[in-house]
Symmetry: C2
DNA sequence: GGGTGTGAAGCCGTTCACAGCA
DNA sequence: TGCTGTGAACGGCTTCACACCC
């Protein structure tokens, strides 16, 4: 199956399914139905089956999907053959929280280096990961074959950091800075805008609260 | 304009536009074109104009939109009349980082209380916000008229926290815990799954990196 | 000429519906 | 009976295209 044609959303859900499946596997559950996964991710069973289609994994009408098999099939699509190295720039409160969060969460997705402009932080370990000056970004990215970078700096510095990343050869950026980033088309950018997310939820909460009154 | 019919995505983008517009306003820019906003948010100019339509704000072909006017129009759609109070549960690394991040970021979106199960944290201030025991959630939610809650606890505790929130009357939940949450249809749930986001970016980075080799 | 405003068209992810099967 | 696999239909967000205006 050509992975290039898989919808973005599907990749995201597959990643979710896998984590949930791992939970189930640990609890000795060896089979699962599409409607079961669907309820956990808040999508329809059809959606789940569609998503699973791209993995080429087949289930049985009587028992559903074999959990172990499905995890392997998803991994074959989502993961690379070898572990992927990731770097994180910005060890402020959010950056170090993210570092701790990601650390050890997935075996083949490792943050191998962190960067900060604060001299006091250079050389220290955060969640077991060394902090380097931003000047060493390029050499570390190259030597570790890094393709993915996480931006967790203040908005004013975000574009500079992104530029440095791209110059170093990074082609996927996960941005948490509340600032617009300009990247060329050959670089994938995902911006998680915390403020917008919170505002969206608050807006919807208002709609729900108001609906009750009508 | 009936706010109930506005697409979810539009709300999210409007929130983004507003922040970017505020930046421009501070830099004394008083007019802006749709293509300018579009470039910052990585959407098409048509998309921007469509989004702005729902605000009822009109621009001029020669000068574009009046920044100040547009901010006000967006606020009229996105914001409530009075400031919205929000609570956050879970003052671990991620929770306190989020608290600091959100604190003071928007005037009419205030985190008024934080909650944690750790007795050592109770009574202390985090980013100026007091930490309460989870048992006081209901009373604080009620007295402060809170409709929105942020979940930043470990996955195992997330559903319990969400249940407590909903019981207290919260109808909008922003979840950062890596766990499936079950909520009834009258509650709006937005889950930010950091691991899935990172995996998606890494997947796309691989696609880009591989594409070069082809 | 290069903007905006907007009906109409397009597109892509989602859902339906049903054959196939244990 | 109830689930999977999947072609076909659907729907809603996005884009097009163009009238209108400075």
């Amino acid at each position: 199956m050509n992975t290039a044609t898989i919808p973005n959303r599907t990749i995201e859900r597959l990643s979710l399914y896998r984590r949930l499946l791992s939970d189930r596997l640990q609890r000795q559950q060896s089979f699962i139905f599409s409607h079961d996964l669907a309820a956990m991710v808040h999508v329809t069973p059809s959606q789940v089956r569609r998503d699973i289609m791209v993995t080429g994994c087949y289930g049985s009408p009587t028992r559903g999907y074999k959990v172990e098999e499905l995890i392997a099939a998803i991994s074959a699509v989502v993961d690379d053959d070898q572990p992927q190295n990731v770097v994180l720039v910005g060890l402020g409160k959010l950056g170090s929280a993210l570092l701790h969060f990601f650390q050890g969460r997935r075996a083949n997705l490792r943050i191998v280096a962190a960067f900060d402009s604060n001299p006091d932080k250079i050389g220290r370990l955060y969640a077991g990961i060394p902090c380097y000056p931003i000047g060493e970004l390029a050499s570390i990215v190259e030597s570790a074959g890094v393709r993915t970078g996480i931006v967790a700096v203040p908005g004013e510095a975000a574009q500079d950091v992104a530029n440095a990343m791209m110059l170093a050869g990074i082609v996927g950026i996960l941005n948490f800075a509340p600032a617009p980033l300009y990247v060329p088309g050959n670089v994938f950018l995902e911006s998680i805008d915390l403020t917008s997310s919170l505002e969206k939820v608050t807006f919807q909460a208002r709609q729900r609260a108001d609906a009750v009154l009508v």
